[in-house]
Protein backbone atom coordinates (compact mmCIF):
# COMPACT_ATOMS: atom_id res chain seq x y z
CA UNK A 1 0.00 0.00 0.00
CA UNK A 2 1.61 3.24 1.05
CA UNK A 3 5.17 3.34 2.09
CA UNK A 4 5.85 6.74 3.51
CA UNK A 5 8.03 8.63 5.82
CA UNK A 6 6.58 8.04 9.29
CA UNK A 7 3.09 9.47 9.41
CA UNK A 8 2.19 11.90 12.09
CA UNK A 9 -0.48 9.61 13.45
CA UNK A 10 0.71 6.13 14.21
CA UNK A 11 -1.18 4.32 16.91
CA UNK A 12 1.43 1.69 17.29
CA UNK A 13 4.13 4.17 18.05
CA UNK A 14 1.97 6.36 20.15
CA UNK A 15 0.54 3.75 22.41
CA UNK A 16 2.87 0.87 22.51
CA UNK A 17 6.09 1.85 20.89
CA UNK A 18 5.78 -0.88 18.32
CA UNK A 19 7.37 -0.43 14.94
CA UNK A 20 6.38 -2.12 11.76
CA UNK A 21 9.30 -3.69 9.89
CA UNK A 22 10.70 -1.73 6.99
CA UNK A 23 8.29 -2.17 4.16
CA UNK A 24 10.74 -1.65 1.37
CA UNK A 25 12.37 -4.95 2.25
CA UNK A 26 9.11 -6.84 1.64
CA UNK A 27 8.93 -8.40 -1.82
CA UNK A 28 5.55 -8.66 -3.34
CA UNK A 29 4.01 -9.82 -6.54
CA UNK A 30 0.64 -10.20 -8.14
CA UNK A 31 -1.65 -13.13 -7.49
CA UNK A 32 -2.59 -15.01 -4.35
CA UNK A 33 -1.30 -18.25 -2.88
CA UNK A 34 0.03 -19.66 0.39
CA UNK A 35 3.35 -17.92 -0.02
CA UNK A 36 1.72 -14.51 -0.20
CA UNK A 37 -0.51 -15.24 2.79
CA UNK A 38 2.41 -16.48 4.87
CA UNK A 39 4.38 -13.36 3.91
CA UNK A 40 1.54 -11.11 5.00
CA UNK A 41 1.27 -12.87 8.34
CA UNK A 42 5.02 -12.76 9.00
CA UNK A 43 5.22 -9.18 7.92
CA UNK A 44 2.63 -8.34 10.54
CA UNK A 45 4.38 -10.43 13.17
CA UNK A 46 1.25 -12.43 13.88
CA UNK A 47 0.84 -15.34 16.29
CA UNK A 48 0.49 -18.80 14.81
CA UNK A 49 -3.26 -19.07 15.37
CA UNK A 50 -3.93 -16.07 13.13
CA UNK A 51 -1.61 -17.38 10.44
CA UNK A 52 -3.47 -20.69 10.46
CA UNK A 53 -6.77 -18.85 10.27
CA UNK A 54 -5.54 -17.00 7.17
CA UNK A 55 -4.38 -20.22 5.52
CA UNK A 56 -7.67 -22.01 6.14
CA UNK A 57 -9.42 -18.97 4.72
CA UNK A 58 -7.22 -19.05 1.64
CA UNK A 59 -8.20 -22.66 0.98
CA UNK A 60 -11.85 -21.74 1.34
CA UNK A 61 -11.39 -18.84 -1.10
CA UNK A 62 -9.78 -21.14 -3.66
CA UNK A 63 -12.56 -23.70 -3.36
CA UNK A 64 -15.58 -21.43 -3.37
CA UNK A 65 -17.29 -20.33 -6.54
CA UNK A 66 -18.32 -16.83 -7.53
CA UNK A 67 -21.90 -15.90 -6.67
CA UNK A 68 -24.31 -16.74 -9.48
CA UNK A 69 -26.46 -13.73 -8.65
CA UNK A 70 -25.93 -10.05 -7.98
CA UNK A 71 -23.88 -7.50 -9.87
CA UNK A 72 -21.82 -8.40 -12.89
CA UNK A 73 -18.36 -9.40 -11.62
CA UNK A 74 -17.13 -11.10 -14.74
CA UNK A 75 -14.26 -8.67 -15.26
CA UNK A 76 -12.41 -9.49 -12.06
CA UNK A 77 -9.15 -11.26 -12.73
CA UNK A 78 -7.90 -12.58 -9.40
CA UNK A 79 -4.45 -13.37 -10.72
CA UNK A 80 -3.86 -9.86 -11.89
CA UNK A 81 -4.19 -8.12 -8.52
CA UNK A 82 -1.86 -7.20 -5.72
CA UNK A 83 -3.08 -8.50 -2.39
CA UNK A 84 -0.82 -6.65 -0.03
CA UNK A 85 2.01 -4.27 -0.51
CA UNK A 86 2.96 -3.02 -3.87
CA UNK A 87 6.42 -2.49 -5.25
CA UNK A 88 7.70 0.68 -3.70
CA UNK A 89 8.58 2.46 -6.86
CA UNK A 90 4.98 2.29 -7.94
CA UNK A 91 3.90 4.30 -4.95
CA UNK A 92 5.06 7.62 -6.19
CA UNK A 93 2.04 9.49 -7.21
CA UNK A 94 1.73 13.19 -7.36
CA UNK A 95 -1.12 15.58 -7.11
CA UNK A 96 -0.85 16.07 -10.87
CA UNK A 97 -1.77 12.44 -11.46
CA UNK A 98 -5.05 12.70 -9.63
CA UNK A 99 -7.92 12.81 -12.12
CA UNK A 100 -9.53 16.17 -12.70
CA UNK A 101 -12.99 15.05 -11.69
CA UNK A 102 -11.73 14.06 -8.28
CA UNK A 103 -10.06 17.39 -7.72
CA UNK A 104 -13.12 19.20 -8.86
CA UNK A 105 -15.34 17.20 -6.54
CA UNK A 106 -13.19 18.06 -3.58
CA UNK A 107 -13.58 21.68 -4.57
CA UNK A 108 -17.29 21.53 -4.98
CA UNK A 109 -18.00 19.52 -1.86
CA UNK A 110 -15.78 21.79 0.14
CA UNK A 111 -13.18 19.40 1.43
CA UNK A 112 -10.55 21.35 3.31
CA UNK A 113 -7.29 21.86 1.39
CA UNK A 114 -5.34 20.00 3.96
CA UNK A 115 -7.37 16.83 3.55
CA UNK A 116 -7.49 16.71 -0.20
CA UNK A 117 -4.07 15.33 -0.89
CA UNK A 118 -4.43 12.83 1.88
CA UNK A 119 -7.73 11.60 0.55
CA UNK A 120 -6.35 11.43 -2.95
CA UNK A 121 -3.77 9.04 -1.65
CA UNK A 122 -0.81 11.06 -2.67
CA UNK A 123 0.57 10.60 0.76
CA UNK A 124 0.92 14.08 1.97
CA UNK A 125 1.27 14.42 5.67
CA UNK A 126 -2.12 14.67 7.17
CA UNK A 127 -1.82 16.20 10.52
CA UNK A 128 -4.84 15.26 12.48
CA UNK A 129 -2.71 14.82 15.55
CA UNK A 130 -4.17 17.78 17.44
CA UNK A 131 -7.77 16.87 16.80
CA UNK A 132 -7.20 13.27 17.49
CA UNK A 133 -5.07 13.60 20.59
CA UNK A 134 -7.71 14.84 22.95
CA UNK A 135 -10.30 12.33 21.77
CA UNK A 136 -7.84 9.51 22.30
CA UNK A 137 -7.12 10.57 25.88
CA UNK A 138 -10.78 10.69 26.67
CA UNK A 139 -11.38 7.24 25.25
CA UNK A 140 -8.43 5.77 27.08
CA UNK A 141 -9.72 7.01 30.39
CA UNK A 142 -13.01 5.22 29.80
CA UNK A 143 -11.30 2.00 28.88
CA UNK A 144 -12.37 2.16 25.26
CA UNK A 145 -10.07 0.35 22.88
CA UNK A 146 -9.91 1.88 19.41
CA UNK A 147 -7.05 0.58 17.40
CA UNK A 148 -6.14 -1.26 14.24
CA UNK A 149 -6.81 -5.00 14.06
CA UNK A 150 -3.12 -5.90 13.83
CA UNK A 151 -2.49 -4.23 17.16
CA UNK A 152 -5.55 -5.87 18.61
CA UNK A 153 -4.30 -9.31 17.62
CA UNK A 154 -1.08 -8.57 19.45
CA UNK A 155 -2.36 -6.69 22.46
CA UNK A 156 -5.83 -8.12 23.07
CA UNK A 157 -5.58 -11.70 21.83
CA UNK A 158 -8.24 -13.06 24.14
CA UNK A 159 -10.86 -10.60 23.00
CA UNK A 160 -9.92 -11.14 19.38
CA UNK A 161 -9.96 -14.92 19.63
CA UNK A 162 -13.33 -14.83 21.31
CA UNK A 163 -15.04 -12.85 18.59
CA UNK A 164 -12.98 -12.62 15.39
CA UNK A 165 -14.61 -14.61 12.60
CA UNK A 166 -17.59 -15.64 14.73
CA UNK A 167 -20.05 -13.30 13.12
CA UNK A 168 -18.76 -13.79 9.60
CA UNK A 169 -17.06 -17.15 9.29
CA UNK A 170 -14.36 -17.42 6.65
CA UNK A 171 -16.55 -19.87 4.75
CA UNK A 172 -19.44 -17.43 4.51
CA UNK A 173 -18.82 -16.47 0.88
CA UNK A 174 -15.94 -16.17 -1.52
CA UNK A 175 -15.16 -12.57 -0.67
CA UNK A 176 -15.32 -13.05 3.07
CA UNK A 177 -12.85 -15.92 2.58
CA UNK A 178 -10.60 -13.61 0.58
CA UNK A 179 -10.69 -10.96 3.24
CA UNK A 180 -10.08 -13.51 5.97
CA UNK A 181 -6.94 -14.63 4.18
CA UNK A 182 -5.40 -11.27 3.36
CA UNK A 183 -7.04 -8.73 5.67
CA UNK A 184 -4.97 -5.70 6.51
CA UNK A 185 -5.98 -2.60 8.37
CA UNK A 186 -9.42 -1.62 9.53
CA UNK A 187 -10.53 -1.01 13.09
CA UNK A 188 -10.88 -2.85 16.34
CA UNK A 189 -13.22 -1.27 18.86
CA UNK A 190 -14.09 -2.46 22.33
CA UNK A 191 -16.43 -0.44 24.52
CA UNK A 192 -16.62 -1.51 28.17
CA UNK A 193 -19.83 -2.10 30.10
CA UNK A 194 -21.99 0.92 30.51
CA UNK A 195 -19.71 3.30 28.65
CA UNK A 196 -21.22 5.78 26.21
CA UNK A 197 -18.86 7.03 23.55
CA UNK A 198 -20.35 10.39 22.70
CA UNK A 199 -18.10 11.35 19.84
CA UNK A 200 -18.51 9.25 16.71
CA UNK A 201 -15.41 7.18 16.10
CA UNK A 202 -14.13 7.78 12.63
CA UNK A 203 -11.90 5.51 10.68
CA UNK A 204 -9.74 8.14 9.14
CA UNK A 205 -8.90 9.87 12.34
CA UNK A 206 -6.77 7.10 13.30
CA UNK A 207 -4.45 5.89 10.66
CA UNK A 208 -3.09 7.06 7.37
CA UNK A 209 -4.02 5.62 4.03
CA UNK A 210 -4.36 2.13 5.45
CA UNK A 211 -7.92 3.08 6.30
CA UNK A 212 -8.77 2.98 2.67
CA UNK A 213 -7.24 -0.39 2.21
CA UNK A 214 -8.58 -3.07 -0.03
CA UNK A 215 -9.18 -5.67 2.62
CA UNK A 216 -10.10 -3.88 5.79
CA UNK A 217 -11.25 -5.95 8.67
CA UNK A 218 -13.33 -4.27 11.35
CA UNK A 219 -14.50 -5.79 14.62
CA UNK A 220 -16.64 -3.83 17.07
CA UNK A 221 -17.56 -5.22 20.45
CA UNK A 222 -20.01 -3.22 22.53
CA UNK A 223 -20.17 -4.63 26.01
CA UNK A 224 -23.37 -4.62 28.05
CA UNK A 225 -25.20 -1.33 28.17
CA UNK A 226 -22.65 0.58 26.12
CA UNK A 227 -23.11 2.88 23.14
CA UNK A 228 -20.89 3.72 20.21
CA UNK A 229 -21.32 5.30 16.81
CA UNK A 230 -18.70 4.39 14.24
CA UNK A 231 -18.32 6.16 10.93
CA UNK A 232 -16.32 5.04 7.96
CA UNK A 233 -15.68 6.38 4.55
CA UNK A 234 -16.46 9.82 3.34
CA UNK A 235 -18.31 11.57 0.63
CA UNK A 236 -15.18 12.64 -1.16
CA UNK A 237 -14.37 10.24 -3.96
CA UNK A 238 -11.51 8.02 -3.02
CA UNK A 239 -9.07 7.51 -5.78
CA UNK A 240 -8.30 3.87 -5.38
CA UNK A 241 -5.09 2.25 -6.38
CA UNK A 242 -6.49 -1.22 -6.60
CA UNK A 243 -9.77 -2.19 -8.16
CA UNK A 244 -10.97 -4.95 -5.83
CA UNK A 245 -12.09 -4.00 -2.37
CA UNK A 246 -13.45 -6.67 -0.12
CA UNK A 247 -14.01 -5.60 3.47
CA UNK A 248 -15.49 -7.49 6.39
CA UNK A 249 -17.22 -5.79 9.32
CA UNK A 250 -18.35 -7.75 12.38
CA UNK A 251 -20.32 -6.20 15.20
CA UNK A 252 -21.23 -7.80 18.50
CA UNK A 253 -23.78 -5.85 20.50
CA UNK A 254 -23.98 -7.46 23.92
CA UNK A 255 -27.13 -7.17 26.04
CA UNK A 256 -28.48 -3.66 26.43
CA UNK A 257 -25.92 -2.05 24.14
CA UNK A 258 -26.41 0.07 21.07
CA UNK A 259 -24.17 0.35 18.03
CA UNK A 260 -24.67 2.59 15.05
CA UNK A 261 -22.40 2.07 12.06
CA UNK A 262 -22.47 4.67 9.32
CA UNK A 263 -20.82 4.25 5.96
CA UNK A 264 -20.67 6.63 3.08
CA UNK A 265 -18.90 4.97 0.23
CA UNK A 266 -17.76 6.90 -2.80
CA UNK A 267 -15.06 4.81 -4.36
CA UNK A 268 -13.85 5.85 -7.80
CA UNK A 269 -15.74 4.33 -10.65
CA UNK A 270 -13.36 1.52 -11.47
CA UNK A 271 -13.68 -0.20 -8.12
CA UNK A 272 -15.40 -3.48 -7.31
CA UNK A 273 -16.66 -3.05 -3.77
CA UNK A 274 -17.77 -6.38 -2.29
CA UNK A 275 -18.41 -6.17 1.41
CA UNK A 276 -19.76 -8.52 4.06
CA UNK A 277 -21.18 -6.73 7.09
CA UNK A 278 -23.03 -8.45 9.86
CA UNK A 279 -24.05 -7.72 13.44
CA UNK A 280 -25.30 -9.86 16.30
CA UNK A 281 -27.70 -8.08 18.61
CA UNK A 282 -28.27 -9.76 21.94
CA UNK A 283 -30.97 -9.22 24.55
CA UNK A 284 -32.33 -5.67 24.47
CA UNK A 285 -29.53 -4.54 22.19
CA UNK A 286 -29.93 -2.32 19.15
CA UNK A 287 -27.84 -2.18 15.99
CA UNK A 288 -28.32 0.40 13.27
CA UNK A 289 -26.62 0.29 9.91
CA UNK A 290 -26.66 3.49 7.89
CA UNK A 291 -25.28 2.64 4.50
CA UNK A 292 -24.70 5.13 1.69
CA UNK A 293 -23.40 3.83 -1.65
CA UNK A 294 -22.58 6.48 -4.17
CA UNK A 295 -19.40 5.40 -5.91
CA UNK A 296 -17.67 2.30 -7.28
CA UNK A 297 -18.29 0.41 -10.47
CA UNK A 298 -19.94 -2.51 -8.72
CA UNK A 299 -21.01 -2.71 -5.12
CA UNK A 300 -22.47 -5.78 -3.44
CA UNK A 301 -23.27 -5.15 0.18
CA UNK A 302 -26.12 -6.26 2.44
CA UNK A 303 -25.63 -5.12 6.04
CA UNK A 304 -27.23 -7.73 8.26
CA UNK A 305 -28.50 -8.03 11.76
CA UNK A 306 -29.03 -11.28 13.61
CA UNK A 307 -31.47 -10.66 16.45
CA UNK A 308 -30.31 -13.22 18.96
CA UNK A 309 -31.96 -12.17 22.20
CA UNK A 310 -35.37 -10.98 23.33
CA UNK A 311 -35.94 -7.27 23.01
CA UNK A 312 -33.32 -6.85 20.31
CA UNK A 313 -33.95 -4.36 17.55
CA UNK A 314 -32.24 -3.83 14.22
CA UNK A 315 -32.40 -1.14 11.56
CA UNK A 316 -30.88 -0.76 8.14
CA UNK A 317 -31.07 2.55 6.32
CA UNK A 318 -29.69 2.24 2.84
CA UNK A 319 -29.12 4.86 0.15
CA UNK A 320 -27.84 3.89 -3.27
CA UNK A 321 -27.05 6.10 -6.22
CA UNK A 322 -26.31 4.31 -9.47
CA UNK A 323 -25.01 6.52 -12.23
CA UNK A 324 -23.55 5.81 -15.64
CA UNK A 325 -21.73 2.51 -15.76
CA UNK A 326 -22.54 1.67 -12.14
CA UNK A 327 -24.36 -1.22 -10.55
CA UNK A 328 -25.35 -0.84 -6.91
CA UNK A 329 -26.58 -4.17 -5.61
CA UNK A 330 -27.38 -3.41 -1.99
CA UNK A 331 -29.95 -3.90 0.70
CA UNK A 332 -30.14 -5.45 4.12
CA UNK A 333 -30.93 -8.61 6.04
CA UNK A 334 -32.68 -9.22 9.31
CA UNK A 335 -32.72 -12.67 10.86
CA UNK A 336 -34.99 -13.03 13.88
CA UNK A 337 -33.71 -15.80 16.11
CA UNK A 338 -35.51 -14.72 19.28
CA UNK A 339 -38.97 -13.63 20.36
CA UNK A 340 -39.97 -10.04 21.04
CA UNK A 341 -37.68 -8.64 18.39
CA UNK A 342 -38.22 -6.06 15.70
CA UNK A 343 -36.51 -4.81 12.58
CA UNK A 344 -36.91 -2.02 10.07
CA UNK A 345 -35.23 -1.86 6.70
CA UNK A 346 -35.59 1.31 4.65
CA UNK A 347 -33.89 1.46 1.30
CA UNK A 348 -33.93 4.30 -1.18
CA UNK A 349 -32.24 4.20 -4.53
CA UNK A 350 -31.76 6.39 -7.52
CA UNK A 351 -30.72 5.26 -10.97
CA UNK A 352 -29.55 7.67 -13.59
CA UNK A 353 -27.70 7.72 -16.87
CA UNK A 354 -27.93 3.99 -17.46
CA UNK A 355 -27.11 2.98 -13.90
CA UNK A 356 -28.65 -0.10 -12.30
CA UNK A 357 -29.78 -0.05 -8.68
CA UNK A 358 -30.95 -3.33 -7.15
CA UNK A 359 -32.33 -3.97 -3.71
CA UNK A 360 -31.64 -7.39 -2.36
CA UNK A 361 -32.78 -8.30 1.12
CA UNK A 362 -33.73 -11.09 3.44
CA UNK A 363 -36.17 -11.15 6.27
CA UNK A 364 -36.15 -14.44 8.12
CA UNK A 365 -38.09 -15.47 11.19
CA UNK A 366 -37.17 -18.74 12.88
CA UNK A 367 -39.67 -21.31 14.12
CA UNK A 368 -41.41 -21.13 17.43
CA UNK A 369 -41.00 -17.40 18.02
CA UNK A 370 -43.48 -14.92 19.43
CA UNK A 371 -44.08 -11.24 18.92
CA UNK A 372 -41.80 -10.58 15.97
CA UNK A 373 -42.36 -7.43 13.97
CA UNK A 374 -40.69 -6.25 10.83
CA UNK A 375 -41.20 -3.64 8.18
CA UNK A 376 -39.27 -3.29 4.96
CA UNK A 377 -39.80 -0.34 2.64
CA UNK A 378 -37.97 0.09 -0.66
CA UNK A 379 -38.36 3.19 -2.75
CA UNK A 380 -36.69 3.54 -6.11
CA UNK A 381 -36.48 6.51 -8.40
CA UNK A 382 -35.49 5.95 -12.00
CA UNK A 383 -34.52 9.27 -13.47
CA UNK A 384 -34.35 8.48 -17.15
CA UNK A 385 -35.16 5.93 -19.80
CA UNK A 386 -31.88 4.11 -19.89
CA UNK A 387 -31.65 3.33 -16.20
CA UNK A 388 -32.95 0.33 -14.31
CA UNK A 389 -34.17 -0.67 -10.91
CA UNK A 390 -34.65 -4.16 -9.51
CA UNK A 391 -36.07 -5.35 -6.22
CA UNK A 392 -35.45 -8.83 -4.85
CA UNK A 393 -36.84 -9.16 -1.34
CA UNK A 394 -36.98 -12.56 0.32
CA UNK A 395 -39.27 -13.22 3.24
CA UNK A 396 -39.02 -16.55 5.04
CA UNK A 397 -41.46 -16.73 7.90
CA UNK A 398 -41.57 -19.81 10.10
CA UNK A 399 -43.60 -18.61 13.08
CA UNK A 400 -47.17 -17.44 13.31
CA UNK A 401 -47.07 -14.76 15.99
CA UNK A 402 -45.58 -12.24 13.61
CA UNK A 403 -46.41 -9.05 11.85
CA UNK A 404 -44.44 -8.66 8.66
CA UNK A 405 -44.86 -5.95 6.09
CA UNK A 406 -42.98 -5.25 2.96
CA UNK A 407 -43.51 -2.68 0.29
CA UNK A 408 -41.59 -1.47 -2.68
CA UNK A 409 -42.28 1.30 -5.13
CA UNK A 410 -40.59 2.25 -8.35
CA UNK A 411 -41.33 5.49 -10.11
CA UNK A 412 -39.87 8.54 -11.75
CA UNK A 413 -39.87 12.10 -10.61
CA UNK A 414 -43.41 13.32 -10.45
CA UNK A 415 -44.37 15.53 -13.37
CA UNK A 416 -46.53 17.68 -11.14
CA UNK A 417 -43.77 18.36 -8.67
CA UNK A 418 -41.33 19.24 -11.45
CA UNK A 419 -43.83 21.54 -13.07
CA UNK A 420 -44.56 23.26 -9.80
CA UNK A 421 -40.91 23.91 -9.00
CA UNK A 422 -40.14 25.04 -12.51
CA UNK A 423 -43.04 27.44 -12.39
CA UNK A 424 -41.31 28.92 -9.36
CA UNK A 425 -38.32 29.80 -11.48
CA UNK A 426 -36.07 26.77 -11.11
CA UNK A 427 -34.45 25.10 -14.06
CA UNK A 428 -35.40 21.50 -14.68
CA UNK A 429 -32.10 20.37 -13.28
CA UNK A 430 -32.43 22.42 -10.12
CA UNK A 431 -35.94 21.16 -9.65
CA UNK A 432 -34.92 17.55 -10.17
CA UNK A 433 -32.07 17.93 -7.74
CA UNK A 434 -34.34 19.38 -5.12
CA UNK A 435 -36.81 16.55 -5.54
CA UNK A 436 -34.09 13.94 -5.33
CA UNK A 437 -32.66 15.50 -2.19
CA UNK A 438 -36.15 15.54 -0.75
CA UNK A 439 -36.56 11.88 -1.65
CA UNK A 440 -33.41 11.00 0.24
CA UNK A 441 -33.99 13.40 3.09
CA UNK A 442 -35.41 11.00 5.71
CA UNK A 443 -32.25 8.95 5.45
CA UNK A 444 -29.80 11.80 5.05
CA UNK A 445 -31.21 13.26 8.27
CA UNK A 446 -29.72 10.26 10.07
CA UNK A 447 -26.19 11.22 9.11
CA UNK A 448 -23.96 13.47 11.17
CA UNK A 449 -24.39 17.02 9.96
CA UNK A 450 -21.20 17.50 8.00
CA UNK A 451 -21.81 14.26 6.13
CA UNK A 452 -25.33 15.27 5.35
CA UNK A 453 -24.18 18.56 3.92
CA UNK A 454 -21.46 16.92 1.86
CA UNK A 455 -23.84 14.26 0.64
CA UNK A 456 -26.36 16.82 -0.53
CA UNK A 457 -23.66 18.63 -2.45
CA UNK A 458 -22.49 15.38 -3.92
CA UNK A 459 -25.98 14.56 -5.12
CA UNK A 460 -26.09 17.96 -6.76
CA UNK A 461 -22.94 17.14 -8.63
CA UNK A 462 -24.21 13.75 -9.68
CA UNK A 463 -27.44 15.27 -10.89
CA UNK A 464 -25.56 17.85 -12.89
CA UNK A 465 -23.68 15.04 -14.51
CA UNK A 466 -20.36 16.71 -14.07
CA UNK A 467 -18.91 13.96 -11.95
CA UNK A 468 -17.41 10.78 -13.38
Amino acid sequence: MKSQAPSTVDIGEYQHGFHFPDESVFKTRKGLDEEVVNAISSHKGEPEWMRQFRLRSLRAFQKKSMPNWGADLSDINFDDLYYYAKPTDDQKKSWEDVPAYIKETFERIGIPEAERKFLAGVGAQYDSEMVYHSIKEDLSKKGVIFTDPESAVRDHPDLVKQYFGTVIPYLDNKFAALNSAVWSGGSFVYVPKGVRVDVPLQAYFRINAKSFGQFERTLIIADEGSFVHYIEGCTAPIYATESLHSAVVEIIALPGSRVRYTTIQNWSNDVYNLVTKRAMAYKDATVEWVDGNIGSKRTMKYPSIYLMGEGAHGEVLSIAFAGKGQEQDTGGKAVHAASHTSSIITAKSISKGGGVASYRGLLKVNEGLHDVRSRVVCDALILDESSRSNTYPYMEINSDDVSIEHEARVSKISEEQLFYLQSRGMSEQEASTMIVNGFLDPLVKQLPMEYAVELNRLIELEMAGTVG
Partner: protein
Protein backbone atom coordinates in the same frame (compact mmCIF):
# COMPACT_ATOMS: atom_id res chain seq x y z
CA UNK B 1 -33.92 -36.66 24.16
CA UNK B 2 -36.44 -39.32 24.98
CA UNK B 3 -35.50 -42.27 27.09
CA UNK B 4 -36.97 -44.99 24.90
CA UNK B 5 -35.59 -45.35 21.39
CA UNK B 6 -37.39 -47.27 18.73
CA UNK B 7 -34.44 -49.26 17.52
CA UNK B 8 -30.78 -49.27 16.68
CA UNK B 9 -30.20 -49.29 12.95
CA UNK B 10 -26.93 -50.38 11.41
CA UNK B 11 -26.03 -47.64 8.93
CA UNK B 12 -22.51 -48.51 7.87
CA UNK B 13 -19.65 -50.85 8.57
CA UNK B 14 -16.90 -49.52 10.79
CA UNK B 15 -14.26 -49.32 8.14
CA UNK B 16 -16.50 -47.48 5.69
CA UNK B 17 -16.25 -44.38 7.87
CA UNK B 18 -12.88 -42.72 7.51
CA UNK B 19 -13.68 -39.14 8.60
CA UNK B 20 -17.06 -38.09 7.16
CA UNK B 21 -19.80 -39.86 5.31
CA UNK B 22 -23.51 -39.60 4.65
CA UNK B 23 -26.07 -42.38 5.16
CA UNK B 24 -29.81 -42.44 4.68
CA UNK B 25 -32.37 -43.97 7.02
CA UNK B 26 -35.99 -43.99 5.85
CA UNK B 27 -35.35 -41.00 3.62
CA UNK B 28 -33.56 -38.96 6.26
CA UNK B 29 -29.96 -38.09 5.48
CA UNK B 30 -27.58 -38.47 8.41
CA UNK B 31 -23.97 -37.31 8.51
CA UNK B 32 -21.46 -39.51 10.32
CA UNK B 33 -18.17 -38.19 11.65
CA UNK B 34 -15.14 -39.86 13.09
CA UNK B 35 -12.74 -37.83 15.23
CA UNK B 36 -10.24 -38.54 17.97
CA UNK B 37 -13.11 -38.22 20.41
CA UNK B 38 -15.19 -40.89 18.74
CA UNK B 39 -17.97 -41.32 16.24
CA UNK B 40 -20.83 -38.82 15.95
CA UNK B 41 -24.04 -38.52 13.94
CA UNK B 42 -25.98 -35.38 13.01
CA UNK B 43 -28.76 -34.55 10.57
CA UNK B 44 -26.97 -34.05 7.28
CA UNK B 45 -28.92 -31.01 6.19
CA UNK B 46 -27.64 -27.72 7.62
CA UNK B 47 -30.33 -25.77 9.48
CA UNK B 48 -29.37 -22.61 7.57
CA UNK B 49 -29.82 -23.59 3.94
CA UNK B 50 -29.87 -26.87 2.03
CA UNK B 51 -26.28 -27.86 2.37
CA UNK B 52 -24.65 -31.13 3.42
CA UNK B 53 -22.75 -31.19 6.71
CA UNK B 54 -21.13 -34.48 5.72
CA UNK B 55 -19.11 -32.44 3.21
CA UNK B 56 -17.83 -30.00 5.83
CA UNK B 57 -14.55 -29.77 7.68
CA UNK B 58 -14.28 -30.75 11.32
CA UNK B 59 -12.24 -28.70 13.78
CA UNK B 60 -12.12 -29.25 17.51
CA UNK B 61 -15.36 -31.10 17.91
CA UNK B 62 -17.36 -28.90 15.55
CA UNK B 63 -18.36 -29.35 11.95
CA UNK B 64 -18.23 -26.32 9.63
CA UNK B 65 -20.92 -26.34 6.97
CA UNK B 66 -19.15 -25.97 3.62
CA UNK B 67 -21.65 -23.57 2.14
CA UNK B 68 -21.52 -20.65 4.58
CA UNK B 69 -19.47 -21.80 7.52
CA UNK B 70 -22.22 -22.44 10.09
CA UNK B 71 -20.83 -24.45 12.99
CA UNK B 72 -22.42 -27.25 14.95
CA UNK B 73 -21.11 -29.20 17.93
CA UNK B 74 -20.74 -32.82 16.87
CA UNK B 75 -21.85 -34.22 20.20
CA UNK B 76 -25.07 -32.26 20.60
CA UNK B 77 -25.96 -30.60 17.29
CA UNK B 78 -26.00 -27.23 19.07
CA UNK B 79 -25.34 -24.36 16.75
CA UNK B 80 -22.05 -22.67 17.70
CA UNK B 81 -21.51 -20.30 14.80
CA UNK B 82 -23.47 -18.12 12.38
CA UNK B 83 -25.13 -17.88 9.94
CA UNK B 84 -27.19 -20.81 11.21
CA UNK B 85 -29.24 -19.94 14.26
CA UNK B 86 -31.01 -23.23 14.85
CA UNK B 87 -29.50 -26.54 15.96
CA UNK B 88 -29.49 -29.77 14.01
CA UNK B 89 -30.51 -33.07 15.49
CA UNK B 90 -27.78 -35.19 17.01
CA UNK B 91 -28.34 -38.93 16.84
CA UNK B 92 -27.09 -41.34 19.49
CA UNK B 93 -24.53 -43.54 17.81
CA UNK B 94 -22.56 -46.61 18.82
CA UNK B 95 -19.90 -48.76 17.26
CA UNK B 96 -20.54 -52.45 17.78
CA UNK B 97 -19.73 -55.72 16.06
CA UNK B 98 -17.85 -53.98 13.29
CA UNK B 99 -20.77 -51.75 12.48
CA UNK B 100 -21.92 -48.21 13.13
CA UNK B 101 -25.41 -48.02 14.64
CA UNK B 102 -27.72 -45.07 14.99
CA UNK B 103 -30.60 -44.94 17.48
CA UNK B 104 -33.42 -44.43 15.07
CA UNK B 105 -36.86 -43.05 15.88
CA UNK B 106 -39.36 -43.55 13.11
CA UNK B 107 -40.49 -40.18 11.87
CA UNK B 108 -44.13 -40.91 11.14
Amino acid sequence: MSAAVDSWVRVASENELVTNMCVTVEGTAIALFRTNEGVFALDDVCSHEYSRLSEGEVWEGEVYCPKHGSRFALATGTVTGLPATQPVRAWPVKVENGGIWVAWQSQK
